[in-house]
């Protein structure tokens, strides 16, 4: 594998202006495939989630999954797109062993959604608007495993094995218009854009959105032009960049590589590039050629999809609040500082805190419990905080007990541990463990008498005005009551008993 020359990113930015473009493929989490009733499930035994349709057997016909259409419309709406009144599927024809019919059923000149935009927030709060060209429906291909080579790559393989479980899984491909004006923030924007798309489809509930499983896959187009020139340069398309970090790195690398090519006076080749996570570089795939004549034509086995305005509005009414708007609203409602809010978002407990507040806790109490107690426990258990099983109602109950003076904060954390251990509700655990702050004076007076008797000299010291000596007696009482006494009340009672007024 030859190594390409690259320029430093700074130098590249001095000389050139990057133009980006993205094709993000989102796998929908429908129960069945796009055109067949076989299950859409990840990770099963090879060639078991298939029927005759997925294998492209002779005689089979596709039938469109209605849920996949609805999910696609939702994605289009969330990306501020227009929804086509009528659209069709087409056949994109090319031979490849992971494509059972040797054509992919896709949308070509009639995408279901088009002309949208997405406002992407960069880390410093700058908002960058990315224009969406289209979002169209298509089907995924099967999975090839290359055997016999040293690396498991297609290069050097002796043969390949095909599993068609993924063949026919519904995809929505989101295509941006050329993104200009990002300048040196292009790599950061790339990452933020893909993250925003991922967040949107997850928030819509239409995709599992796990990049590590290929639920969201990104092809990144990069071209450079000298500053001040309007015409775009020749672009490369880096395929299957499948983590947020990799998107950022791949765009940065391609900018540096293009800059070096342009500096050398050579033309950039319009080609596919492959991303390598290990070396953080791309290598040449194949150049565009006349073999890319896909001979699209309308899929004759399917009929047009007509999205009535009523249907579109019904779907729009089901859309959740867009993630960015929601965050803005919650931050204002809760009164958290920028730092506090970012920590909450990064810890992934936004939903949990919102639910806890809805259940009756104050914003500060909810944050204190989730950020102060639960996130740490979740980290120790290596699970998401939401998966620990803490109900919002539990936190509200704990907070109310503390506020009413029934238990103190220290006890409350013990109760939380009890809840996590499955011992019952907070009230039950307080009962079972006998964890009440003792506020009945009777037992306290007994304990005070015992403590005074045990330390005979202390009472005199207090009477003599050395009020700070009271600590020894309070400590004795607390010890005797195993910490359940209300220390303030104990102090009052001792002073009363000794007839001392402070």
């Amino acid at each position: 594998m030859s190594t390409d020359e690259i320029l430093s990113f700074e130098e590249a930015m001095e000389k050139y202006d990057p133009v980006l473009g993205f094709e993000v493929h989102v796998e929908l989490n429908t129960k069945t495939k796009m055109f067949s009733s076989a299950p859409n499930v990840f990770g099963d035994e090879p060639n078991t989630n298939v029927n005759e349709v997925d294998l492209g057997m002779p005689g089979v016909l596709p039938v469109v999954n209605k849920t996949a259409i609805e999910s696609s419309i939702k994605i289009g709406l969330a990306l501020n797109c227009k929804i086509a009144e009528s659209c069709r599927f087409a056949r994109k024809q090319y031979f490849y062993p992971d494509t059972p019919k040797n054509f992919q059923t896709s949308q070509y000149d009639e995408p279901i959604a088009y002309d949208g935009y997405l406002d992407v927030e960069l880390e410093d709060g700058t908002v960058f608007r990315v224009e969406i060209e289209r979002a169209h429906m298509e089907e995924d291909a099967g999975k090839l495993t290359h055997m016999g080579g040293a690396t498991g790559r297609i290069q050097g393989a002796d043969f390949s094995l095909v599993d068609y479980n993924r063949a026919g899984v519904p995809l929505v491909e989101i295509v941006t218009k050329p993104i200009e004006g990002a300048g040196s923030r292009a790599p950061e924007l790339a990452k933020a854009y893909v993250a925003a798309v991922r967040e949107i489809v997850k928030n819509l509930g239409v995709s599992d959105a796990k990049m590590e499983r290929g639920n969201v896959r990104c092809d990144a187009n990069v071209s450079l032009r000298p500053h001040g020139r309007e015409r775009f340069g020749i672009r490369s398309e880096t395929k299957n960049v499948n983590s947020l970090r990799a998107v950022e790195h791949a765009v940065r690398y391609e900018i540096q590589r293009h800059a070096a090519v342009l500096d050398s006076g050579a033309p950039v080749i319009q080609e596919t590039r492959h991303w390598h996570e290990d070396t953080r570089t791309t290598t040449s795939g194949r150049a565009k050629s006349d073999a890319d004549d896909y001979r699209y034509f309308p899929e004759p086995d399917l009929v047009p999809v007509v999205a009535s305005r009523e249907w579109v509005e019904e779907l729009r009414a089901t859309l959740p609040e867009p993630p960015a708007e929601r965050r803005k609203r919650l931050k204002a409602d809760w009164g958290y500082s920028d730092l506090e809010f970012r920590d909450v978002v990064n810890a992934g407990v936004l939903d949990e805190i919102e639910e806890t507040i809805a259940a009756g806790a104050s914003a500060s109490v909810a944050r204190k419990w989730w950020m102060g107690e639960i996130v740490g426990r979740a980290k120790a258990a290596d699970v998401d905080p939401g998966q620990l099983g803490v109900e919002p109602a539990t936190i509200v109950e704990l907070a109310q007990m503390v506020e009413a003076g029934k238990i103190n904060n220290k006890m409350a954390t013990q109760v939380l541990d009890g809840v996590l251990a499955g011992e019952g509700t907070p009230a039950e655990i307080v009962d079972k463990r006998g964890l009440a702050v003792v506020s009945d004076d009777g037992p306290l007076l007994e304990a005070i008498d015992a403590a005074l008797a045990a330390q005979p000299g202390v009472a005199d010291k207090i009477r003599a005005g050395k009020v700070q000596a009271i600590g020894a007696i309070v400590g004795g009482v607390m010890k005797a009551t195993r910490g359940q006494a209300d220390a303030g009340r104990v102090k009052e009672l001792i002073l009363e008993k000794l007839g001392v007024t402070v």
Binding site: N51, E52, L55, G56, M57, P58, G59, V60, L61, P62, V63, V64, R91, Q93, F95, P97, P100, K101, N102, F103, S160, V162, D293, R295, Y296, F297, P300, D301, L302, V303
Partner: protein
């Protein structure tokens, strides 16, 4: 083989009954389904060496289904009551339609030995009706042809003259029915593959309205043109079979949602009084054999006598129909046949030399597995869809389709049913047009417009041509979703013609069994 049932019906008589007659005798207990099925299997054994209508004979399963029907009938009760009218009536299936338990080849080497793991919807419906499936019939490879000479498994011969073609692509189904090897058969019709073989073999064939019968499990040639339909000896039998296989199927997105009309009742209407029957000016006369034209005129005369009003209509855009068809069909076929690549099923051929990549294996497999006509159409279709040519070819052809539909719409304001000869000529000799694709394509000139517009068409025997004594087909066309009209007019015309002939036309066909026994045994 000459064993007789209690009612004294000989096997020779049994195989010549129409499906409806056989069904009546089965219901009345005069014959058993096993007897009928065995009679057909014996007939296949006796004559198919000459005809080559069958690629596979499914004797064991057919007899088992027949025995099941007999047992149910014998037991009586609700289950016997619930039996379909055609239960126990055997049928042959064109080998383009997939069947569990039997090979499906599409007449191609590329699928030799392949067994489908699923049944076509129409096959499921035959099974639900408990109709014994006699076997799979020969066809032009992937249904591409008008003579059945393009089968990878040898041509089928016309029972009227074994040196002539039986039509195509469904020559096997038509010849099987004409040679009394089956009372019923299924065909598929993309440009005339049911109707044209029907015409040249003296049988009845129907291309239903597009979407009337599910295409699920019919190996696609041209998805927007293909339609499965009945191949029979009488119009009533076609209506009966259409009723079994038709109706909505959720597995075919182009399947019509509404229930089928009562086609059998339509076939039994018995009159055509007041119906307007339109002669399509562009589909007779010049280019049509004189004997074909004569029989066509006879049919018009009979219909007029029966009280129909004969009008003339013009469909000027039909002149472009053949050209549009030969762009749309290969385009869709080139795409539909891409899946045959030696990866998932069927033939795999390794290149004789050079690198052994999957791309080359696909290329070698398709080179060896497809015949010339299939390759020709794939290349033509690839051309018509390729960058820079799409608008001029495929796009223009789809526009012509609109024009053809408009012609039909206009014609159907003037006439209830349209009429034409089914094919320009009677059966031509084997080999005559094999090396002249264009001449072969012209056989379909009268049948293609119906496929482009999706309207239903029926071909029935119109008699024998004066010059060669071979069958002539009369084609009836109706508006989309009005298949019932075809059965109504077709049944009336059939009864008028049979009254004139003194019986079915097929009674005049040469006796294959007598001439062929020795030859058959030598061939097998």
């Amino acid at each position: 083989m000459t064993e007789q049932n209690p009612a004294g019906i000989s096997a020779e008589t049994l195989i010549r009954l129409s499906a409806a007659q056989l069904a009546d005798k089965l219901a009345a207990g005069e014959v058993t389904a096993v007897e009928a099925t065995q009679a057909y299997l014996d007939r296949i054994a006796a004559v198919d060496g000459q005809v080559n209508a069958f690629l596979h004979v499914n004797a064991e399963e057919a007899l088992a289904v027949a025995a099941e029907v007999d047992a149910i009938r014998a037991a009586g009760g609700a289950e016997a009551e619930a039996l379909h009218y055609l239960a126990g009536v055997p049928i042959a299936v064109k080998d383009l339609i997939v069947t569990i338990g039997q090979p499906t080849t599409a007449g191609s080497k590329i699928l030799e030995g392949w067994h489908s793991p699923y049944d076509a919807t129409v096959v499921e419906r035959l099974r639900a009706a408990k109709m014994p499936i006699l076997g799979k019939t020969n066809l032009d490879e992937f249904a591409m042809g008008s003579s059945t000479e393009h089968s990878a498994y040898g041509p089928t011969r016309n029972p009227w003259d074994l040196d002539r073609i039986p039509g195509g692509s469904g020559g096997g189904s038509a010849a099987a029915v004409a040679a009394f090897e089956a009372p019923l058969a299924l065909g598929t019709d993309t440009g005339g593959s049911i109707r044209q073989p029907g015409a040249v073999t003296g049988t009845v064939g129907v291309k239903p309205t597009y979407g009337s019968v599910s295409r699920y499990g019919a190996i696609a040639m041209a998805s927007s043109l293909d339609q499965i339909g009945p191949v029979t000896r009488t119009v009533l039998d076609s209506a009966l079979l259409h009723q079994v296989i038709g109706g909505h199927d959720p597995r075919d997105s182009t399947s019509l949602p509404e229930p089928l009309a009562d086609l059998v009742a339509a076939a039994k209407t018995g009159n055509v009084e007041g119906l307007r029957i339109g002669i399509i000016k562009e589909l007779h006369g010049e280019g049509y054999q004189a004997g074909v034209e004569n029989r066509f005129n006879d049919a018009l005369e009979l219909l007029k006598e029966a009280g129909a009003e004969i009008v003339e209509v013009s469909c000027p855009n039909f002149q472009y129909a053949l050209g549009a068809y030969y762009l749309i069909m290969p385009s869709e076929a080139s795409s539909n046949l891409a899946k045959f690549d030696g990866v998932r099923y069927g033939l795999r051929v390794l290149p004789e030399e050079g690198p052994m990549t999957i791309e080359r294996v696909m290329g070698a497999t398709r080179a060896a597995g497809f015949g010339d006509e299939v390759k020709r159409r794939i290349i033509l279709g690839t051309y018509a869809l390729s960058a820079g040519y799409y608008d001029a070819y495929y796009g223009s052809a789809q526009k012509v389709r609109t024009l053809v539909q408009r012609d039909f719409d206009a014609a159907f304001t003037q006439a209830d049913v349209l009429i034409s000869p089914t094919a320009p000529t009677t059966a031509f000799p084997l080999g005559e047009k094999l090396d002249d694709p264009l001449a072969m394509y012209l056989n379909d000139v009268a049948t293609i417009p119906a496929n482009l517009a999706g309207v239903p068409g029926l071909s029935l025997p119109g008699g024998l041509a004066d010059e060669d004594g071979l069958p002539v087909g009369i084609q009836l066309l109706a508006p989309a979703r009005e298949d019932a009209r075809l059965y109504r007019v077709g049944a009336v015309l059939e009864s008028l013609l049979e009254a004139k002939w003194g019986g079915p036309l097929l009674a005049q066909a040469p006796d294959l069994a007598a001439a062929g026994t020795l030859e058959t045994q030598e061939a097998k």
